[in-house]
Amino acid sequence: MTTPAGDWAEVPGLVGVTEEHRETTITVEPEHLVDAALHLRDERGFTFLADISAVDYLGYGTESVSGFIGTPGGRDLNAPMTQGLQVVPAPKPKRFAMNYHLLAIATPPRRVRLQTFVDDGESVPSVVRVWPTADWHEREAYDLMGIAIDGHPNLVRILMDDDWEGHPLRKDYPLGGEPVRFSGEE
């Protein structure tokens, strides 16, 4: 549900503001991410970056609606969880979302989610200069989700091996992801 920009109209590169579950999400253009981050930190007091969560929306909401036999997704009556969704969620503009969870340590404290969408192959500017704590969070987003971070001083894998192929948290990366030895599946 998009609400009027209201207080957030001054955020550079603003695309929209949503208010859901008592949480505010500010969506900005990736090109203006650093400007928006600086604005929120310096003008709005969001000095604390709590977390960066990258999400892969590949295939999001493409399952058919349940309760109707003959849906294109099909339903296998012998297999649970094949009956689709009850409501198809709103589609996302691009494949990946980067969510920056910000906190203003004030009375009362305020939290906001800064969100930006990118497609595969596009890059997000680094916010390490704005919040130094973004260092490892951005490396994690690169490592597990394969999102290129522009301007990060040390963009190498953090959790996976240096020579690992692929990005495990992507939706097109299978669970397991590597053959189990001596299992006959090699």
Partner: protein, 426 residues
């Protein structure tokens, strides 16, 4: 260039920022020092008893001074977040507990709270109070493990035995409640998995009577112990501004003089209804972190007592929400009610559905801000779960804290950041 580390003598935390540039987590040896030819690079870990798991630090040494440092993590990466995308919501609850295997109930709670927020589900008061109680017992448990192991690393071996003596009592309480000593999986979406067993309250009371005296014992052993003071005072300095810029939270942040506690300032569970004090110390060193931990244990005992006062008057009240689309029906109904049987079958095989949306829930775990970002498609499994692990962030401060340290201080500093590697690597 001095050969001995510059140790501030006063109690003021340094001026300006000490965060390394350009990479905030990599301390680099200056070219001038490299040119002397006396810099030695030492590998520390990943398997070392004092790394609290498998942490690897690559340290440049000039004599005994640490001049360069970077951390290598990921040795315990088990793909919890990927696995959770392939499990139904109620099966996922077991995973967060194993992420931080020392503060499992807090981890369990944050995920359950995020799902409840997406579902807009109300939890009965008895469950809320019991969750508060267990989270606080778990905080004491986590601090005891921290205290015991950190003191052990600095040579105070008896501390370890005393701390683990009380930890054993807490584990017995967990066993009494949930049947398991660790990874209790006692929180269910909507409330608790079972009613609180009879006999828990008197046992918990006994523990609350005993624990303050035990904490006095710890303080007798350490707080004015000359060796402990020399190993911890003025070591691993972190200023308030640097701590916030590096995203530090919990005891590390409060030891740097920032008065911030999510329990008090944002309020979740029953924390706005109990009386407790948030300890804040301004020295920003390892000793201040130790004092915060000790004081927090005392406050947690107070919270547990207040929870017991409430819970003892709630005998017979519901412990889980009455929402048959999410919560399993009572076991005895399965023999008589067709509806209950269907609900039970559907929840166990398919799982319940959570409306599409995204939430971020943050709580004060023993290690600091533990966040859980959950994104749902509207189906029976999470679309994406991401944990904001406080240990992961705390380790980022290593380079800043070590900026004028000696190699022997490294153990004290890494220990004082209170990291659990399972949580760092997830």
């Amino acid at each position: 260039m001095t050969t001995t580390a510059n140790r501030p003598t006063g109690r003021a935390i340094y001026h300006g920022s000490r965060i390394p540039y350009p990479t905030p987590t990599v301390l680099e040896t200056s070219q001038e020092l490299w040119d002397t030819g006396d810099v030695m690079t030492v590998n520390f870990g990943p398997n070392h008893p004092s790394t609290h798991g498998v942490l690897r630090l690559v340290v440049d040494l000039y004599g005994e001074d640490v001049t360069g440092l970077f951390a290598v993590v990921g040795y315990l990466h088990t793909g919890f977040e990927k696995n959770m995308e392939h499990k139904t919501w109620w099966k996922c609850i077991t995973y967060p507990e194993r992420i931080d295997y020392v503060s499992y109930q807090n981890n369990e709670y944050v995920f359950v709270a995020a799902v409840e927020k997406l579902l807009d589900l109300d939890v009965p008061p008895k469950a809320t109070w019991m969750r508060t109680l267990l989270c606080e017992l778990n905080r004491i448990h986590s601090h005891l493990v921290w205290l015991g192991t950190s003191a052990l690393e600095l040579g105070a071996i008896s501390m370890f035995w005393y701390a683990f003596r009380e930890r054993e009592q807490i584990l017995d309480l967990f066993e009494l409640v949930a049947g398991y000593r660790m990874h209790t999986r006692y929180f269910q979406v909507g409330g608790l998995a079972e009613d609180i067993p009879r006999g828990f309250y008197p046992e918990a009371r006994k523990f609350c009577d005993w624990m303050p005296r035990a904490i006095d014992d710890y303080e007798t052993l350490l707080t004015r112990n000359k060796i402990w003071l020399e190993r911890t005072e003025g070591i691993g300095l972190l200023s308030a501004d640097d701590a916030i810029a590096l995203g530090q939270s919990g005891p590390v942040l409060r030891a740097s003089g920032v008065d911030w506690d999510i329990r008090r300032d944002e309020g979740y569970l029953a924390y706005h209804q109990v009386d407790f004090r948030v300890p804040v110390f301004t020295e920003g060193d390892v000793y201040a972190r130790y004092r915060v931990h000790i004081e927090e244990m005392r406050q947690s005992v107070r919270i547990v007592e207040q929870c017991l006062d409430r819970l003892e008057r709630m005998e017979g009240e519901p412990w889980i929400a009455d929402d048959r689309k999410v919560v399993l029906p009572p076991r005895h109904e399965l023999h008589t009610s067709m509806e209950s049987l269907i609900h039970h079958f559907k929840i166990v095989t398919e799982g319940f559905r959570v409306p599409a949306g995204e939430v971020y829930v943050a709580i004060e775990s023993p290690r600091g801000e533990l966040g859980c970002y959950v994104c749902s498609e509207g189906g029976p499994k999470p679309w994406r779960v991401k944990f904001r692990a406080p240990s992961f962030v705390a380790l980022q401060a290593t380079a800043t804290c070590m900026s004028d340290a000696l190699i022997a201080d490294m153990i004290a500093i890494v220990g004082s950041l209170d990291t659990v590697m399972g949580e760092v690597d997830r």
